[in-house]
Amino acid sequence: MDSLLYLGTKKGLFVLRRGENGRYIIQERAFLGDKVVYVHPDSRNGFVYAALDHGHFGVKLHRFQPDSGWKEITTPAFPPKPDGFVDKNPHTGQEVSWTVQLIWSLARGGADQPGVLWAGTIPGGLFRTADYGDSWQLVDSLWHHPTRQSWFGGGMDLPGIHSICVDPRDSRRVVIGISCAGVWLTEDSGQTWVTRAKGMRAAYMPPEQADQELVQDPHCIVQCPSAPTTYWCQHHNGIFKSTDGAENWVEITPAGVSAFGFAVAVHPQDPNVAWFVPAIKDEKRYPEGGRVIVSRTRDGGEHFDVLHRGLPQSDAYDLVYRHALAVDDDGQVLAFGSTTGSLWVSANQGDDWELVNAHFPPIFAVQFG
């Protein structure tokens, strides 16, 4: 209940805390006017990382330290592209620029790796730091993987890495989600990789290609910390779950109100409890009937509750992006923010919601920390 709530928005970073009356209030504003596309509080040391996209001036990374405040740190960057090297998608002919266009995700390493962070980017580069972000190394094994040039964008023009799950049992084991190149696993801190999207289905491909692992578009993947063989995935055209460490995925059908959405959160102590924020599928992308609802399963996907108390039930066109739904470490408090700048919080696992503010800038990321 004492967790801070961090919002990355189109016009800055907001830090909220729960006041004595139980309502969340803004404690700090940072980077006002600048686009904060991701925020990552690091529970190991109290640091906070903010990924900015300045548009004209490129992407930048900032770090907050409790004793010294915010400071710009090194931004992950690609090495020089070799002269004469042609980096084109063989199917689309699209050229891939070796420049970081977006820091789409950040994830801390394990407790045994205090300075380690991973950064997922567009155009599909994964980076790792071992010194709290003072320097970054491109994960060459993935960038130079023979399949990489065939990865393609999902929504964005170029592919990107948006989900990074560091296994709590073994920090060397990391699962990532790529739009669009499916799910990938390393068990040696990124030296080698294998695909792990078996069982996923891509409805946007011809039927004979629908089960190919490299064409899957996982919108967001989360891992249950207390039952780490369980992963949940909100995919472009469905909800998928793995209970065997991402070896196999099973589609959850029916998947509640709509199988389309971006965000997913899993209860930290119960792998059978997960939340989603559905919308009408891809060509529309707004809540069915203008009703904002949260979809919750408590039995591993057998059934879904439609949670709506406290949420607008008419003429609401809020879409919730993949990083904009969060659950706290106790699995009790949830928060989500929308493209139209609304932030809602629930103190009882989603049964009841309270509007914190309807006038934030468009919200990209919500994190407890």
Binding site: H54, A77, P80, W98
Partner: protein
């Protein structure tokens, strides 16, 4: 000597201000700029050394031609403006 000016929008993020330089090409000039204001480099150029997509550089009123190698000539009296493009930001 070539003189470099910066958009105020960049000054908001990193230290940089009017600078008198030497050299025959823009790459010479920018080398001195970034030696003096190192943090400005990644705001103007991407990691491949090219001018960022939504940045523009004017040399004596004309837009930079070689955005990747920065070989455009400059003269002793050149006025160089590092600006934002109107594209690329909301």
């Amino acid at each position: 000597m070539p003189v470099v000016h910066f958009t105020q929008n960049l000054v908001r993020h990193v230290e940089c201000h009017r600078l008198e330089t030497t050299g025959d090409t823009l790459v010479d000039v920018l080398g001195q700029v970034f030696a003096r204001f190192p943090r400005a480099k990644t705001y103007v150029l991407d990691e491949q050394g090219a001018v960022r997509k939504h940045m523009v550089i004017f040399v004596d009123g004309k837009q930079l031609v070689d955005r990747t190698k920065l070989t455009d000539p400059v003269h002793q009296s050149s006025q160089i403006y590092i600006m934002q493009a109107l594209s690329g930001g909301v």
